[in-house]
Symmetry: C2
Subunit: 562 residues, 2 copies
Amino acid sequence: MNIHTTVKSDIEIAQESVVKPIVEIAAKVGLTEEDLELYGKNKAKLTYETMETLATKPDGKVVLVTAINPTPAGEGKSTVAVGLADAFNQIGVKAMAALREPSLGPTMGIKGGATGGGYAQVLPMEEINLHFTGDIHAITTANNALAAFLDNHLHQGNELNIDPRRIVWKRALDLNDRALRQVIVGLGGPMQGVPREDGFDITVASEIMAVLCLADSLADLKSRLARMIVAYNYDKQPVTCGDLGVEGALTLLLKDALKPNLVQTIEHTPVLVHGGPFANIAHGCNSMVATKTARKLADYVVTEAGFGADLGAEKFLNIKARMAQIDPDAVVIVATIRALKMHGGQSKADLKQENVEALRKGLKNLKKHIETVQAFGLPAVVGINRFVTDTKAEIELLEQWCQQEGVEVSLTEVWEKGGKGGVDLAQKVVQTINQSPSRFKSLYELSQSLEEKMNVIVQQVYGGKGVEFSAKALKQLKEFDQHGWSDLPVCMAKTQYSLSDDQAKIGRPQDFTIHIRELIPKIGAGFIVALTGDVMTMPGLPKKPAACAMDVDDQGRAKGLF
Amino acid sequence: MNIHTTVKSDIEIAQESVVKPIVEIAAKVGLTEEDLELYGKNKAKLTYETMETLATKPDGKVVLVTAINPTPAGEGKSTVAVGLADAFNQIGVKAMAALREPSLGPTMGIKGGATGGGYAQVLPMEEINLHFTGDIHAITTANNALAAFLDNHLHQGNELNIDPRRIVWKRALDLNDRALRQVIVGLGGPMQGVPREDGFDITVASEIMAVLCLADSLADLKSRLARMIVAYNYDKQPVTCGDLGVEGALTLLLKDALKPNLVQTIEHTPVLVHGGPFANIAHGCNSMVATKTARKLADYVVTEAGFGADLGAEKFLNIKARMAQIDPDAVVIVATIRALKMHGGQSKADLKQENVEALRKGLKNLKKHIETVQAFGLPAVVGINRFVTDTKAEIELLEQWCQQEGVEVSLTEVWEKGGKGGVDLAQKVVQTINQSPSRFKSLYELSQSLEEKMNVIVQQVYGGKGVEFSAKALKQLKEFDQHGWSDLPVCMAKTQYSLSDDQAKIGRPQDFTIHIRELIPKIGAGFIVALTGDVMTMPGLPKKPAACAMDVDDQGRAKGLF
């Protein structure tokens, strides 16, 4: 939650807002009721026919919203993305947003909701934060059906010669549940399957989520699902979902989940909320289908990528943009003065106090992300999510600094004022795009080796010296080359809190090396995950989960989401 | 699948059928678009406001469809229920059906679908058999959220003093997955929770499914959820969901799942498909909310209960009818000549051959169920689901026998002909209701002891001598009395294949005793489960799951459901 002058909670603002029939929202971008599959009055999926029809239309511009490295102070990247889309419409630019779906696990655990904040929210807030249109449930089901087919294969004679010690496909639930991280399944004797070690990830960390977000048709979805590696056999060769013969059933389970979901902001800007892969183990962007569809419907599309520019934006630009052939036009880097002060060493408890020196130091983190965006050939605009505690001196320093750096900066107040609070940012983005056309290029070529790709990311995005590999990872590099996987992009799994792989190193660490512990081939998604340090793929709950405050009244109105 | 003259599969017939907009179907029973929350064009939920408005309207009649003990020959109870509702409309009686939602587990495993068959199907068949409106996913989520909250409580200090060896709340997935029947969770050291034994049920066996199906409002749902027992503490006292303080969050997760789903038959008869608890560990009927709502909308409501009359109908009549104050008017007992011949000793391989003697012997099973229905003070009509292999001599014997027994019988051909094939059955049901008004009464009073209730069921429904208890069950009877649970109804968990607790004893076994192994208090659902023998609450997959034949074309059209 943001700390602003207003005292209303997000859910209060959301419930006081008017949600227009989604048919009216669709009409704004030229869609009729025939193009929609309604989920209640305020949510709809677009049909495959509609997306086919749209394919020939020209593409709108794409503005990627990213951020500095996150701190406990909070940055409000989704809030700025939503407010920016509203602001574009305020200045007469026909805009949409294409955003990620929230995961129920964090909602029930600590976040209480993830659809923007204040007057820059996506509606219907409760439904998007709960079951929405069932996409994530479909992914959970497909993920666990595949696990059940795999264990059944072991139990029924194991024709594929799968080594139960080398099963890599985990089960999944869209919940925070630490007790399921490491489990043993198949106990109880010969009638209950084959005992083995297993574990559950949160659904948004499932490869199927990444696959759904990178597939551009049902046919592509099916072939990606077929390629997913589920295990290795006793000859250490990969066994895939396709080897089990169930990619058709999984595609069937996902046939509606692949259609993007249309909703609206508080200001009735159309938004596609679709797909939400983790930004550590996966690429952290909303679905390719949604982003591409939004470009056909609007002149400007605002989209976002998870965590800071070193994680989400790097993956958006090197992975998603390349696969989807989406060349973005500009990048907004969101920061707060509070968070920059934390990067400069101020403690969370002291954030309300003016500290120009800490801010000055913390700007180094922002500077690195600006450089990164520029390295991709893209113009950057800094969007400051303004808080009441920001002092005049701090704001002045920030503005001066941006001027010196030659980068546009805008103080936004979208949390309090909605689109109006982002008009200046919107104008600066349009101006920047008009003045500095994108010369977007990926930072590496797919033909480079996996090691070269990782070195490029570490040097040009993180600002480090390069990568070093564990013995295991070195061995894997050779094996992957033999499997023909070396021409895939790399999806780095790294802490979001630091540019380095040590989360304590805030600000702009120097002279560090990134240690690659292990590689994970995600052949369905189409990338190689490089693990640096421990990666959390199943969060836990806090002592008092947010769920304890949740309730519903007799008419079905939600309480306790925030 | 039925063996009839037509060679089309259920999904072919379903896909060739015209599905009318659900708004048109709703109009047939006086509902407007305002009463509906659309899920696509062909499915809708009814709003809470609508159900409140309907509450003052008079109640339609209720016809319960049940069956003989199931055999591998198949009976087609859902098919007859759907066809009967269509047939009522054919003869000018305004009718609806209120049926259970299919579970994905059996669909992906062996059944391939469960929405009736042939020309007596509910549409849209694919969607109902896949994710439908997400009710079962919501239950899965609520079930597993509760498990996560429980394990988190253990991990965060265990203030409630829960004994990890006495946790009774299991996790759930709506899949057939034998490897999850017995698992160990919480492995990996102190950061990953508390290691303990656990297991997964199929979602339809979750107490939350039973709770949803017996709750009559959101407030009732919440108080039932709060009463569910999740564990026992070190003092062996029950710990409930309410003790964990999460009944509000669970109700929030279920706020839409409690609303009944409106769909249609191939002949456009309105159907509420809502809720689907297992008929062994739970009561096996669709939701109370749906049955009560259907009575407000139609003059005749056809509903069904799982397995044979000894399981589903007994529980419908002694549990659901009592809680919901639904007095049924007549019971249709579905049988096939094939299945009756199996009860008379004919092997499955020989079913195509005429065998009047086997049929005569097998009629004993039907006779017991007729007696049971009559014991409840209800008129019974026998509905024969006709197959092409039924011979003239067999049909004549059956008809003569029913005449001697003084019970109406009708040969239905709803699979091939839809409602037309059930007109005779519909007429006989109407006639029977007019001539033999229901004198419905439960077989036991809630004030009787649990032991007395079980003896009543065994003697009057199963035709056995009575119950005997294990030492454990005897001890539990005393404990339950101390907890004040003795005035709850009993939900018998018994094999569906035999009137006894030995599945090999087909036909009409005599002089048997039912051995009660253990009692399980389901205080949220509001009944005591009595386990006889092993009860399967998580099915397994066959060697070649039905899923292997499933697929979807580029337009999202399903293949391989049948």
